[in-house]
Symmetry: D2
Amino acid sequence: MIIVMRPDAAEVEIEHVIERIRGAGLEPHVSRGVKQTIIGAKGDETALRSLPLEATAGVEKVVPIMKPWRLASRAFRPEGSVVRVGEVEIGAGAFAIAAGPCTVETRESLLETARAVSAAGARLLRGGAFKPRTSPYDFQGLGEEGLKLLAEAREATGLAVVTEVRDLRHVELVARYADCIQIGARNMQNFDLLKEVGAARKPVLLKRGMAATVKEWLMCAEYILAEGNPNVILCERGIRTFEDSTRFTFDVSAIPNAKHESHLPVVADPSHAAGHRHLVAAVACAAVAAGADGLLVEVHPRPEEAVCDGGQALLPADFERLARQVEAVRAALAPVGV
Amino acid sequence: MIIVMRPDAAEVEIEHVIERIRGAGLEPHVSRGVKQTIIGAKGDETALRSLPLEATAGVEKVVPIMKPWRLASRAFRPEGSVVRVGEVEIGAGAFAIAAGPCTVETRESLLETARAVSAAGARLLRGGAFKPRTSPYDFQGLGEEGLKLLAEAREATGLAVVTEVRDLRHVELVARYADCIQIGARNMQNFDLLKEVGAARKPVLLKRGMAATVKEWLMCAEYILAEGNPNVILCERGIRTFEDSTRFTFDVSAIPNAKHESHLPVVADPSHAAGHRHLVAAVACAAVAAGADGLLVEVHPRPEEAVCDGGQALLPADFERLARQVEAVRAALAPVGV
Amino acid sequence: MIIVMRPDAAEVEIEHVIERIRGAGLEPHVSRGVKQTIIGAKGDETALRSLPLEATAGVEKVVPIMKPWRLASRAFRPEGSVVRVGEVEIGAGAFAIAAGPCTVETRESLLETARAVSAAGARLLRGGAFKPRTSPYDFQGLGEEGLKLLAEAREATGLAVVTEVRDLRHVELVARYADCIQIGARNMQNFDLLKEVGAARKPVLLKRGMAATVKEWLMCAEYILAEGNPNVILCERGIRTFEDSTRFTFDVSAIPNAKHESHLPVVADPSHAAGHRHLVAAVACAAVAAGADGLLVEVHPRPEEAVCDGGQALLPADFERLARQVEAVRAALAPVGV
Amino acid sequence: MIIVMRPDAAEVEIEHVIERIRGAGLEPHVSRGVKQTIIGAKGDETALRSLPLEATAGVEKVVPIMKPWRLASRAFRPEGSVVRVGEVEIGAGAFAIAAGPCTVETRESLLETARAVSAAGARLLRGGAFKPRTSPYDFQGLGEEGLKLLAEAREATGLAVVTEVRDLRHVELVARYADCIQIGARNMQNFDLLKEVGAARKPVLLKRGMAATVKEWLMCAEYILAEGNPNVILCERGIRTFEDSTRFTFDVSAIPNAKHESHLPVVADPSHAAGHRHLVAAVACAAVAAGADGLLVEVHPRPEEAVCDGGQALLPADFERLARQVEAVRAALAPVGV
C-alpha cells in the first residue's frame, strides 16, 4: 500500500501515518519528494485495509498495491479450474453450452425445448423457476413445480440443469433439483445469499452485476470460495451503459480480463445482453472468440408465447445454427490459441 | 400500448397482432401509414405486458404508454405522503436529518456521536449493524449487539433509529430494535427482501440501486407497497458512472423527478455519493435545494479510527455547520417554493 | 410519429396538436383511450421533427417512428457497401487489417513497423501525424512531416495509409497524403469537420465517440454522406463506462447492430478499447467473430519507447499471431455465416 | 510517479526501470517488498509522462502523483478567479445568470426574450447562432445574422452576450459580436478549437463534455489557458449515464469538485441536463446551493414554437420565479458559506 501525503502535510501528520503503519505490523518506507512525501507500507496489506488511512489528517490518497482477492486469483491455481456440473466439465479448455427458456412454463414446452437444444449440442438446460422481475405484478416463476419439471427434463435428455436461486431460504431446495445454482445479476452483491451458496455442495454460476466492475465480481466469487465451495463459474451478461439499442452492453473484454486475473471458468450470456434475437449469435461467437468457456442461451420453441423475454429467445433452428458457428470458431482457434 | 409494425410486415402478421390484442381484452386501433402500420391498444395495458408482443413476427417495437407503477404513483396520493419514523415526520413539507457512523463500533463512540448529532439538529440516528462489504475479509458489523447499542442510543438521546437489513431472515430482528428499516443500494432489487420488509410494520428507507433508473427504483417501492406497507421513503445515494473523482455520481435531478412521479418522500445520502468529506456539505445543500425531504449523513467523532468509510465521515463540528446551511436553504426556499 | 397526450390534457390542447400536425402536412390519426389520448401522424416525420411538439401544452411524450437516417440506412443499399481504400476493399465480405504505431515517430521506426505488419498480413498502415492529446503539454504529432513519412512507407510496402485529421483546415493536406482520412472519437460530433471530409474525395474512417449511441454515430455518418462522400467506414473503438480495468468498454454488439441498421462497413479498434496489450488479441478475435469488416491495431517494434500508448501496442510477433487467429476465425465462419 | 513492478519482475527489469527514471532526470527511490518491488520517482513527473513506463517489461502499473494541470490548478490562484464578461463579473463570489433561447430565431422573439430575462434579473443573454445538431437535416442556426441580432439585443438591454462557436474558422467572427465565446460539450476535446479561442481576446465558457471526467475538463481549460487566455469559465451541463428520464445526468458534485481543484469560476446549465421544463428550477437551485458562480438557462416566450429544445425552455414567468429562488438560496448561504 502506498500513502501519498498532501503537499501541505505537516511533519507531525507524516509521523502519525508512519506510526499507524508500524502499529499494523507493516514496515513504513518513506520517500520525501520535492513537493510531497510518499510512504510505502511493506507487508500484508490486509491489516492496513481496515484502517481508514484516507481519513487521516494530511493524507491525499491511498493506493493499494495488492489485489484484494486470494482464492479467486489466477495465482492460486495458475493452470485454471475445471468445474464439473453434473457430468459436464467447464473451464481450462472444456466448453459447454446451456440453453433453454427464460422461465419454465409448461411441461410440454420445457421438454420440447430440452430435446431440441440437446439435439443441437447443448449439454446443459437453463430455465428459471424463481424469476426476479422488475414489476411485482409480473409472473415470478413456477417455484418448486418448475424445479421438478427441470429435473424431469434432465431425466428425459441427460442435460444438466442450471437454475437461479433468488431467496436464500431456497438454496437447499434449489440444490436438491439443480446441478448448478445460478446467482442472478441483481443478487451478485447479496452477500448473505453468496454465503449460503458457498455452503452448498453444488457448483455456482455467478452472473456479473449490471453495475459491477470485474474487480467487484471477483470479490463476490471470493465470498463463495471463502465459504468452502470451490466450484464457481463466472458469467458475463452485459453491463449498464448509456447505449439503449441493446438491453445491456456486453463487455467482451471482461472475459479475457477475468480469466487473466482468476483461475475460474468464465461463460457468457449473450441473450440478456443483446436483448434482441438478431444480435444474439454475433455476440455469442464474439464471446467464444474472446475465450469464453461456455454460453447460456435463451431458446424457446414459440418466442411469441414466452412468458418473459421472448424478444431475445432464439428459435431451436437459430440455436442449432449458433451452436455450429460457435463450434467452428472454437475449432479454428484451438490450434492458434485464444 | 402502441405496437409499431416493421415496414415489411405482412398483412397476416398485422392481423395476428390485432387478434392478440383483442384476445387480451383490449381494443385495437389500427393506423396504416405510408411506410408502416401502427397499432394502438386501448384498455388496461397490464394484460398486454405479459404478452411478448415484441417477439411476434412483423413487430418492430412496442411502446408502453401507461406508467408501470400504481401505488407508488403521484396520482395515487397527489398531496404527497408523510412517513412517520418514531415520532419524526418526513415528507410533504416535513424534513429531518439522520446522522451517525457508517457502522456501529463501540458503545462509547456511538453515544458520543448520537449526542453530538442530536445537539446539532439531527432527529434520527443512522448506523449499520449488518454491513454489506465488498470483501468477505472486511468487518461485517456487530449484528444484534449493534442493534442493541442503537436502541440504547435512542433511549439516551430521543433520536429515532434507521439501520440496514441485509439478510431477509433478520427483518423481524431489525424491526424489533429499529424505527426505520433501511434497504441498501446493493439490495434494491433483492425482491424477496422487499417482500419481507413489505410485510413488516416499520417504515422502510429504500436506497436507489447504483445502476437503477428512477423507474426501476419506483417499481421496487411498489413491491413494498404492494405487500401492504405504505411507509416507504426513497433515498438517492448516487449512481455509477465513468466519473471517478467521486465515489458515485449524485443524481440530483432524481429528487424532483421521483417526487414528480411519486407521492413518496425522497431523502438524500450525500456521504456515500461524494465519498470525500470536503464535498459532502455542498452535495447536501444541493439535495435540499432540489427538494429533498431529508438527509442521511455520516458523522464520526474520529474519522481516522472509523471501521469503514472514514474518508467520507464528517466531524461533529462539520455536521453542525452543514445542519445550519441546510436549515438556511430550507428557510430561504419556503416562501418561494422548491 | 406518435404524440401521447397527458391524462389531464384539455380538449383544446388535443385539438391544437391535431392542427399542428395538419399544418405540417401530415395526417393526424386520433385514438381516444380510457386514460389518455394518443395521436398518430401519418406522412413524412421530418416535417414534424422541427416542431417542438413535446413543448406543446398537454403533451406527455413524443415517440418518433421513422429512423432518422436515410443515406446511411441499410435500406438504402441492402447488399452492403464496399469501400475502396487505395486498392484495398473493405465491406460486404471484403476484410482488411490496418496496423501501425499510435503516432508516427521516426522514419526508421515507421518503416520497420510497416514492413513487419505488411509481412504479417496487414493491408493498411495506421499512424497519427496529428494527435489529439488530453494534455496540451504532450507531444501532438509530427504534422506534415509525419504525413510524408507515411507516404514514404506506402511507397516502400504497398500498404494503404489511414491517418487522422483533427483540424478542419488540414483536410486537404491530409487527403493529399492519405488513402483514408480518420475522424477520431473526440471529433465524431465536430460537425464542421464532418462536412469538410464529406466534401473530400478520399474515404473516411469514422470512429464512434466515446459517449455516442449507435444512433448518433450513424447520424454523423449521415453528415458525411449528405455532403456527397459515399465512402464511409464506421469504427467501433470502445465506449465510456464505469469499468476501469480497461481503457474503454469495447461494445462488441455495436458491430452487428450497426451492420443491421446500415449498409456501411464496420471495423474495430481493439487497441484503444482494451488499453492493455494482453487483452488486444481476444478483443480483436471477438470483433471479427461478431462480423467486423476490418481491424485497426496498434503495433510498435519497441513499445517501451513509444511516444504514446505504448502499453497497448503489440509487438510485431504478437501482431503476426493475432493476424493468424483472425484469419482462422474468418475462415471458420465463412461457411456457416456470421 | 510510482512504478509498481510485477511480482515476477526480473532483477534486470527492475534495474532497467531505475535507469530510465534516472535518464529522465528524476531520482529513483526503490522499495523492495515481500511480494513486489515499488519504485518511486522524485522530481518533475512531466519528464516521465512521455515515457511509456507501463509498456516496459516487468511493470504492473504506473501511478501518477502530481496533478496534470498547472495554470488551471487552485494552487495557481488560491483566492479564485473573477472573469469579466462585458461588465459582468463571474467567480470568487460574483454571480450572474445568462438566459435566452436555445437558438436565435427572429429579431422580435429575441428582443422580447432579452427584455424579459433582463427584467427578471439575468445579466447575460445566451443564444446560438451556430448550432451543433445531431442530424444534418436539422436547422443549424442563422450564422452571422444571428450574431448581429444578439448584438442588437445587447444594445437594447445592456445584457452581455454569450454564444457558441463551433467551427474554428469562426472564432474571430464570433468574438467580434460576442462578449463570451462558448465551447459546446461536443467540442470540449476539439483541441484545435481550444487553441483558437485560447488566442482570442474574449472570455471563454467551456462546457464539460458529456463523457468527460472533471480531470479531462480541467485539462481542456489548461489548453485555453496555455495559449494565453486567462478568462475561462467552466460550465457543468450533465453527463451521459444509463438514466433515461432526464436528457443527461447533472453532476452536481462536479461543481464543488472543480472549484476545489481549480481557481476558475464554475457555472451550471440546468436546462440541457434536465431536458424537461418541470425539472429545471430544482436543478438550478441545487447547482447554486452547491456553489455555482452562475447559471445558463433556456428561456423562450413560446416554447412550442421554439426551433430547438422547446421542451426544456422556461417561460419568462417561470424564469422570473427561478431567479428569485436562486437569489434566496444565495442570500441564505452567504452568511453560513457554501
